[in-house]
Amino acid sequence: MTMLIALFKNRLTAIWAFLVLATLISVESVGFGANSQRLATALITLIAFVKVRFIGLEFMELRHAPLWLRLAFEGWTLVVCVALVVLNYVVASNSAP
């Protein structure tokens, strides 16, 4: 058990704990209620892409990759995140009574 703890006592485990916490926050934010639904969806989208960025930079080790590779990944993350936030806003506008 001590050996197992030693194997996992590092930055990667801290990143995993953050990702799990972020997941639980995004699941909880679904229940914000109808009035805050637009905000909740924006928050869920942002949390998802913050998680994506951490998986890329930390687990895929892009933090240590050449700049072009890191920028390609971060560019995808930013563009898709913005596109989804905007489209979710359109969805919310169309569903408003």
Binding site: T23, A48, A65, P66, W76, V80, L87, A92, N94
Partner: protein
């Protein structure tokens, strides 16, 4: 068999491409395809938000959450495997085994979830939402199965030693993390976003 292991440094070299350049062509190709999926889904959802929301309410978010936690944890084990392989630690293959077990857990939960939906009459043709649901999660599941195949190959061809094929560990790891990364967005898109 894996190629003859080469001597690797204990530390990660500065400004290093994880795996090989070729794997990144595949990774970015997949990321672009899935980005198109995400945008297409929301464009059609914007046309009929009420119907999509009604169908979304039929999904079981607990199973989606469970699968997210399984994949995030499998990614942790995979990342630890790469770190330990770089250090030449004997525990590296065991980390791959744990990644595979968690990946199989994802497949079992997904099969259970699909079975539950199909028995309830919520099939591919039930609605536009469910067509996308089965298509996206099906293509993603195909990636999970390919990833598991790659990890099984890696596990069966490496024994505890002091010299591992680190680039191969990294390449397999990058693909497995892609599977995790795409699921993170799919989970938010299909189960959580209203």
């Amino acid at each position: 068999m894996i190629a003859v292991p080469i001597k690797q440094p204990a530390e990660r070299p500065a400004k290093h491409i994880p795996g090989e350049e070729g794997i990144w062509v595949l990774i970015f190709g997949d990321m672009v395809v899935f980005a198109i999926f995400f945008v297409t889904f929301l464009v059609y959802k914007a046309g009929n938000p009420a119907a999509y929301e009604a169908d979304q309410a039929l999904l079981n978010p607990h199973l989606g959450l469970l699968n997210t936690l399984l994949l995030l944890t499998s990614s942790l084990f995979m990342a630890q495997a790469v770190r330990l392989a770089r250090l030449g630690a004997k525990e590296a293959p065991a980390m791959i085994t744990a990644t595979i077990v968690l990946g199989l857990g994802f497949v079992v939960v997904k099969a259970f979830e699909w079975g539950e939906k199909i028995r309830a009459g919520l099939t591919l043709t039930h609605s536009e939402f469910f067509t996308y649901y089965y298509m996206f999660t099906g293509i993603h599941l195909m990636h999970v199965l390919i990833g598991l195949g790659v990890l099984l190959w890696l596990r069966s061809s490496c024994k505890p030693s002091e010299q591992y094929p680190v680039a191969t560990f990294e390449g397999c790891g990058v693909f497995w993390h892609l599977v995790d990364l795409l699921w993170v967005v799919l989970f938010a898109l299909l189960y959580l976003m209203k």
